[in-house]
Symmetry: C2
Subunit: 358 residues, 2 copies
């Protein structure tokens, strides 16, 4: 059993998660229990959870359509309305069972329904396990801009049950894996080097890797909860990655990218910028780029795409006073925050990416 | 100059408010300033504020339609989108200039835009001055249910400028006055007795009364910020009052009621319930009812209206475990919280109200 215990936002992982979930339910004594699922987790994960519920637990299911395009205020309104229709009160509990869309949206809905009800997150995607399980960020997209509306509030607890990963398509695993690679880059070269052995078909071993990522993120968030400094490193690769993700979501003629796929491109670009501006070693730039491209392939960006993506950077939440702020690396686990980068150098980074030969 | 200073949510009142506002702006150094107004305050209050802004301040105006029916998620989406289009970042500041709809909605929008930007409230209605200026509650309605979606977060500061009251229709003053009467009931019979001298045509004297209400509310909120106990008294008259307000908002054939007008009815009913269940003195019940009815008149409720209002009670945010929780009074400033009341007694309260002869 692995656990990080806090007053709010404890994370539990391992075979005992279900008995701890039952214990939390019995201590919390919610007046009503609601389970938020999407159309995928309703089929693939809900039956597993239901088997683990106390026999006498009465609960109701709220279902949202799957997919990032539904992570909207409009979906929130639908869930708020259902909670209201089902007579949820302030002592009700919302259990979010799903990937990042369900945990981000469900966390926001719970944090704002009647000015805040309790919620529990049970992440079912690799991305949600290693990224959304710690830190308390929640929210939804506004148009094509990611996570523009939300709050920071920890769930009551988080339960990580690695067996759910078996229900995921391979692309979803690869997407979540990008955040694990990020944890290696910003915090531990040793972890980065070990990560090539990550294999979800062996849940016990996979759990060790996932837990290491959760611990890295938890260390960062605990040291700097309000994101003044160190926590900004979690944004590594995300400045360009988010803009790329938004751009491809918005333009139906572009091949869609999962979050982690966009962030993987963002990290190649950030590594290049780091090597140009912060002396990130060239050899490591070559090695890491080869690994990213071998896993994620090379996405086709036209010059026009690149200009539009640069244009989108100004909407990044981390920006202040009109500056686009990048996190850069001097080396693995050695960072510089609030770095400004010329658009010309960003264009060079895209050229480096497009012309890289594995 | 009157002030309540806190780390967040300081309240300032008096002629020096504008110089303090300029000081706060100069200390805060927001990257951008946005002023949220409604179609009324844009005309009647914004020019006064603009005259007081530092000469070199650059800011943008966001306007929402006036009226409680626009206190919706849909209006929020509109404001979030405008902030995004105008490239608001995390260091931007939102100044909410208006009545409760503007300060409640603006506070919620600011608390959730990019997971929270700073905001300042400048209440322009009596209700917003005496009620919304302290306590940090914000939010919007969901359908016809009041304040179902929101969070608790204090503004950076609140500036109360009593001269704005001159811009209000009389009904709006009467509506806000109901909350002041509530402060008398729950906290001070002396204040209740003095309140008959309240007169907005004399701003200096009115300011004293308004400040006394703000101080009463501040004492309550400071003693019990998380609403476990004492703060619930601020809900006096609101359990039935909110249901009455929602019902009249929802039914276009009923004469619409302002918030305070509905709460005034709720307080007459609560005083009756208090006299039946908590020995609130009969004589004071007669006296207070006569005052409420002389100010607010008697609203016409059919038996069917009463049943529908009772039905709506179950949506009250203060309810837990299926119980409708009332605050009742043993006397002025002597309260009992979490009281359950039979529907039959609620019907009697409406009968008392309908048949009362001044």
């Amino acid at each position: 059993m692995k656990k990080i215990e806090k007053e709010r936002g404890s994370v539990f992982c391992g075979t005992l998660v279900w008995s701890i979930l039952r214990e939390v339910l019995s201590q919390q004594k919610p007046s009503k229990v609601f389970v938020l699922v999407d159309t995928n987790t309703k089929t693939h994960c809900l039956p597993t959870l239901e088997k683990q519920f106390p026999k006498d637990l009465s609960y109701q299911i709220i279902t949202i359509p799957a997919g990032e395009k539904n992570k909207t205020i409009s979906t929130c309104t639908n869930v708020w309305q259902q909670l209201s229709d089902l007579e949820a009160d302030r002592n009700s509990l919302l259990i979010n069972l799903g990937g990042g869309v369900v945990t981000d949206l469900g966390g926001f809905v719970a944090s704002t329904f009647k000015r805040g009800i309790e919620f529990i997150n049970i992440p079912t995607s690799l991305l949600a396990m290693v990224d959304a399980s710690v830190g308390g960020k929640n929210g939804v997209d506004l148009g094509h801009l990611k996570n523009q509306v939300g709050v920071i509030r920890n769930p009551l607890s988080v339960f990580v049950f690695v067996e759910f990963l078996a229900t995921l398509p391979k692309a979803e695993i690869t997407s979540g894996y990008a955040e694990m690679l990020k944890h290696g880059l910003i915090a531990s070269e040793t972890y980065w080097n070990k990560l090539k052995n990550f294999d979800v078909s062996n849940p016990a071993a996979a759990e060790q890797f996932i837990w290491e990522s959760i611990e890295i993120k938890n260390t960062v968030v605990t040291k700097d909860p309000t994101e003044k400094n160190f926590r900004k490193t979690l944004n590594y690769g995300h400045t360009l990655g988010h803009a790329i993700e938004s751009y491809c979501l918005k333009n139906s003629d572009k091949q869609p990218l999962l979050h982690g796929e966009a962030i993987a491109i963002g990290m190649v670009l950030a590594n290049y910028l780091s090597s140009e501006l912060k002396k990130f070693p060239k050899k490591k730039l070559q090695q890491t780029t080869a690994i990213f491209l071998s896993i994620y392939g090379c996405y086709d960006f036209t010059e026009n795409d690149v200009e539009k993506i640069i244009e989108l950077l100004k909407f990044d939440k981390k920006n202040t006073d009109g500056n686009v702020n990048f996190v850069l690396l001097e080396d693995f686990s050695s960072y510089a925050i609030d770095q400004q980068v010329d658009n010309e150098l960003i264009r060079s980074a895209f050229n480096f990416y497009k012309n890289f030969k594995i």
